[in-house]
Amino acid sequence: MIEYIPFIAVVAMILIGLYAVVFRRNLIKIVIGISIIESGVNLFLIMLGYREGGVAPIFTSLPPGTTYPPEMVLPVPQALTLTSIVIGVAVLALMLSLVMHIYRKYGTLDVRKIRRLKE
């Protein structure tokens, strides 16, 4: 059971994020919601990197005589997560700057009032 807890956390984070995006009115909270979804997905990726009894993927510290032990953990998920975090930062910054400009033009952060484009 305990090994499923992280996955439950992932799903919960994604659902919380979606809830914030769909039901919260403040633009900043929507941005926070997206950020939570992103953290959830990142957590998911990190979790996939865990191998029980794994060896760090450093070739110099391998046991002598072995070249590629099967228990060596591939660093792929970590690399993916780093990339994803970097992208997330860019998206976050862009979204927040847009929110700032929108506040200047519309005078509000209520998502229900920011809808001149409709129908």
């Binding site: 979606l18 995006v21 769909v22 039901f23 919260r24 009115r25 929507i30 998502v111 229900r112 920011i114 809808r115 001149r116 484009l117 409709k118 129908e119």
Partner: protein
């Protein structure tokens, strides 16, 4: 070679263009026999409004949003629903995404 074949039918644009060209030449010639002149600047070049005085262009102009009145009127109930659907609210856009996701998950989950 020039015929587009779909397995159920065919379409040859070149042939059609040639037929069009020939008939165009023929009827352009025939049209040339007709009288081409008219009295410019007289009453006859004004828009025909059953004898009423011609209003200014702004008043006479029929706006684009009034076009297809007949169609939109007979489809009024459909339009009121569809226009309401596009709320312009960002949250609703994501709600649609979540809804479609849920429905498809349900369909493929059952299958």
């Amino acid at each position: 070679m020039f015929t587009l074949e779909s397995g159920s039918g065919f379409w040859n644009p070149i042939l059609w263009i040639l037929v069009l060209l020939i008939t165009f030449l023929l009827f352009y010639g025939i049209r040339g026999f007709g009288k081409s002149t008219y009295k410019k600047g007289t009453e006859q070049t004004k828009a025909f409004l059953s004898g009423n005085k011609e209003p200014s262009p702004e008043e006479m102009h029929i706006k684009a949003s009034n076009l297809y009145w007949g169609f939109t009127t007979s489809m009024k109930s459909l339009y009121s629903v569809l226009r309401k659907m596009h709320t312009g609210n960002t949250s609703d856009y994501i709600l649609w995404f979540v809804l479609v996701l849920a429905v498809l998950l349900l369909i493929l989950g059952v299958m």
